[in-house]
């Protein structure tokens, strides 16, 4: 019975090992978790080593090798959700459901755990329940959720208002003011010509919106010029940087335009296949996106002979992530698309020449594709008449934290930080985190600076902290995020991020010394210079920035000893005292002996 189910699921995915992630997600939906037996049979049926399947199961946060609740609650532990009371939410759930974090209730009905930022920072605290996002958690909503769970109400029958997730577009600009008419940019492409359209995008000087800011036209040209059997277009909808939620809003309102951008890219580089890699947290958007794809296919804007042009063939598939921030890094994303652990590849070669299945591949962010479509329709002018010389155009910011009007703001590049703070009604602001934990923290002295590639680049996250917040606790949260989300491939990052986390929490707990501050400086240097990919290279940023902006707060937290032990020595002897029954003087240790 079990075997037939596994067989039919694997069959449904063409017994293709590159679909391993989809297969495992489907199996898990079927069985609740992935037992050793399921894993072994999957490996057998796919004819791949069982260790490969085990490795994938262990890698992704949303795959479970042990039973979890029929109702699975994951609470976002993003700094903003924490500021909005995520800890109290956890307590309330635990108390009312009679459970503890990371433990399955004895009746097997419910389990609860933490997860990284789920992308609802403007309406936190947020949770995923059986993978579906629920925002704005408060006592009342928690009580009704507990009720529904205890009454065994299937998720699909829960009241719709629980699933309300407003887009909160506060300030629309070039991109958000109006979506293009479906198909219009494809018509422009066809009338203007492929090369002329690429030239137009080049003219616009559009740079990637996912963070790195690589010129989009160059990326497309490199990919087009790489000779190969197949070319691929991949949309990076993994949006995992804590504090970022603009791609969620684009996917909800501008997906059609994004698909159109992908289609234009496909025509330019000569691709027939595209993928949207959708972060698992946005599962609830999947059906809606598929429906748009189906409509576009029905309208001949996708599929074969697009817009009646023979040989203009392009299809788009949605692939779901499974809770791994590192899969936003483009080469890790490609690994994941191929059904593997999301370990960043060694670059070069870059995806433009060796991407999905080793074929030339363009990977772009959601916003990049949506913008490219608009440029293809309207030309470069409307886009680049705003912004700065080096950073033309506008940028979507996901503004959240200590402000009265969180949400999406679209600003021309060059907009000053203090203006954004005014617009979102932030008061008594202590510091702002720009570009998420991997970005930059700035304090008041720098609020005159502006959003741009040349000054303060950002992938869209903009987190406001007021004077009641403790920057060192913020850095602690960020560093814990990297310690949890790194892929484990290289030692400087894998070990270094945990050392940073431990040292910072030692300082935050009041037992740090001058030596720990020196240690942090050294660690930051070591991790940023020796890590394999962008995650490790930027993971020390929160520590380096707080050390620079808030040195005096570090000093206030450490004691005046030159060194303090990392562990509590008395506590480390406690177990042995108990086991031996000893309490003589030699069975104790002083924490400090100088």
């Amino acid at each position: 019975m079990i075997e037939t189910t596994i067989k039919s699921i694997i069959h449904h995915h063409a017994s293709d090992p590159t679909r391993l992630l989809d297969i495992l997600l489907d199996l898990q939906n079927q069985f609740g978790y992935l037992s050793a037996e399921t894993i072994t049979q999957t490996a057998d049926l796919l004819d791949i080593p069982v260790t490969r399947v085990q490795g994938v199961v262990a890698f992704y946060n949303f795959l479970y090798a042990k039973p979890v609740g029929r109702y699975r609650i994951l609470l976002s532990n993003c700094i903003i959700d924490t500021m909005h009371g995520a800890l109290a939410v956890m307590d309330q759930f635990c108390q009312q459901l009679g459970i503890k974090p990371d433990q399955l209730r004895s009746d097997g009905k419910v389990s609860i755990a933490e997860t990284s930022c789920s992308g609802f920072c403007d309406q936190g605290p947020a949770a995923l329940i059986n993978g579906v996002a629920i925002a704005s958690l408060n006592s009342q909503r928690i009580a009704s959720i507990v009720n529904l769970i205890e009454n065994d109400t299937p998720l699909k029958d829960w009241p719709a208002e629980l699933f309300q997730r407003p887009d909160n577009i506060q300030l629309p600009g070039y991109l958000l003011k109006q979506a293009i008419t479906p198909g219009s940019a494809i018509s422009s492409l066809l009338s203007r010509g492929t090369q002329a359209t690429l030239d137009e995008i080049e003219q616009s000087a559009l740079r990637g919106c996912g963070g790195a800011g690589f010129p989009t036209a160059s990326k497309w040209r490199y990919c087009r010029d790489a000779e190969a059997r197949q070319h691929y277009v991949v949309c990076n909808a993994d949006e995992g940087e804590p504090g970022t939620f603009k791609d969620r809003v684009l996917l909800n309102q501008f997906a059609d335009q994004m698909f159109e951008g992908m289609t234009i890219c496909a025509r330019i580089i000569g691709a027939r296949q595209g993928f949207v890699y959708l972060r698992g947290e946005y599962l609830y958007l999947k059906d809606k996106l598929q429906q748009i794809i189906d409509e576009r296919t029905a309208n001949h804007w996708l599929g074969n002979d697009i817009a009646g042009v023979t040989g203009f063939d392009f299809e788009i598939k949605i692939r779901l992530g499974a809770g791994a921030y590192i899969c936003g890094e483009e080469s890790a994303l490609l690994e994941s698309l191929e059904g593997k652990r999301g370990i960043p590849r060694i670059r070069p070669p870059f995806p433009v020449t060796h991407g999905y299945l080793n074929q030339p591949t363009v990977v772009n962010n959601v916003e990049t594709f949506a913008t490219a479509a608009k440029i293809a329709l309207e030309g470069s002018q409307p886009f680049n008449q705003q912004g700065t010389a080096n950073s033309p155009g506008s940028r979507l910011l996901s503004v959240a934290g200590d402000c009265t009007h969180p949400g999406i703001y679209e600003y021309p590049f060059g907009t000053r930080i203090d203006q954004i703070l005014d617009d979102c009604r932030a008061e008594n602001t202590l510091c702002v985190q720009i570009g998420g934990p991997s970005g930059t923290m700035i304090a008041e002295a720098d609020f005159h600076r502006h959003i741009s590639f040349e000054d303060l680049p950002t992938g869209g996250s903009f987190i406001v902290f007021n004077g009641t917040r403790d920057p060192l606790e913020i850095a602690g949260n960020f560093v814990a995020f990297f310690a949890h989300e790194n892929c484990g491939f290289c030692t400087p990052c894998r070990v270094g991020t945990t050392l940073m986390k431990n040292t910072l929490s030692k300082i935050n707990s009041g037992s740090g010394s001058q030596d720990d501050i020196a240690e942090l400086h050294q660690l930051c240097e070591l991790i940023s210079k020796n890590s394999h990919c962008g995650l490790g290279q930027t993971a020390p940023n929160p520590v380096m920035d707080t050390l620079a902006c808030f040195a005096e707060r570090y000093q206030a937290k450490v004691n005046n000893r030159t060194f303090t032990p990392d562990i509590d020595l008395e506590a480390a002897l406690q177990e042995a005292r108990q086991l031996t029954g000893r309490d003589d003087p030699a069975a104790h240790l002083d924490q400090f002996n100088e």
Binding site: A572, E575, L579, A587, L589
Partner: protein
């Protein structure tokens, strides 16, 4: 660091280690004569001095697994100008730290109660015995360490190069060949 007349003091000890690092030190062979020209050993297995005196260099092998290790390590820190973690055990806990994932109770029961051939089973509780810590810790978590000399054990050449640098008053560096293990 040294004057041409006074010899420098080197102290060594093994905490939770296997003495392999000390054996590697002996593997510097005849170079130990050159060393003896400029240095004398204070507390170390060669001298059997029980308490470390004021020394220039302290070499620590092994991690920290019990209360006595903590006392010895602290004495070394107090008495040595430069304290060096020698080998994987001192640096990371090494082999003895393999027990860290097993609850202490299980470790002790396996050794003293359930183990094969155990007579008069009981967990030893004599106050003379150093009380065991819940885990084996790297020495840098207990005291400030100035340098780490990696390897299991570090090769004689690595130890020699390191100490030679220190004796010459240079910042010690280890060329890749000496810390490359594959």
């Amino acid at each position: 660091m040294t004057t041409s007349t006074a010899k420098i003091n080197i102290a060594t000890t093994s905490l939770a280690g296997c003495f392999g690092c000390h054996m590697s030190l002996l593997d510097i062979d005849e170079r130990i004569q050159d060393l003896a020209e400029v240095a004398v050993f204070d507390r170390s297995p060669f001298t059997d001095i029980k308490h470390c005196n004021q020394s220039d260099i302290g070499l620590i092998e092994g991690g920290v697994c019990n209360a006595e290790n903590v006392h010895v390590l602290r004495e070394f820190r107090k008495q040595c100008n430069i304290l060096i973690a020698v080998g994987a055990c001192a640096i990371n806990g090494g082999i003895p730290a393999l027990r860290n994932n097993i609850p202490l109770k299980e470790c002790l029961e396996e050794s003293y109660i359930d183990g094969l051939g155990v007579v008069n089973p009981q967990i030893p509780n004599d106050p003379e015995l150093p009380l065991i810590l819940d885990k084996v810790y790297p020495i840098h978590e207990i005291v400030k360490i100035d340098y780490s000399l990696p390897g299991c054990p570090p090769s004689a050449d690595a130890i020699c190069a390191f100490i030679t640098d220190l004796l010459a008053g240079r910042e010690p560096t280890l060329p890749d060949e000496l810390i490359h293990y594959d």
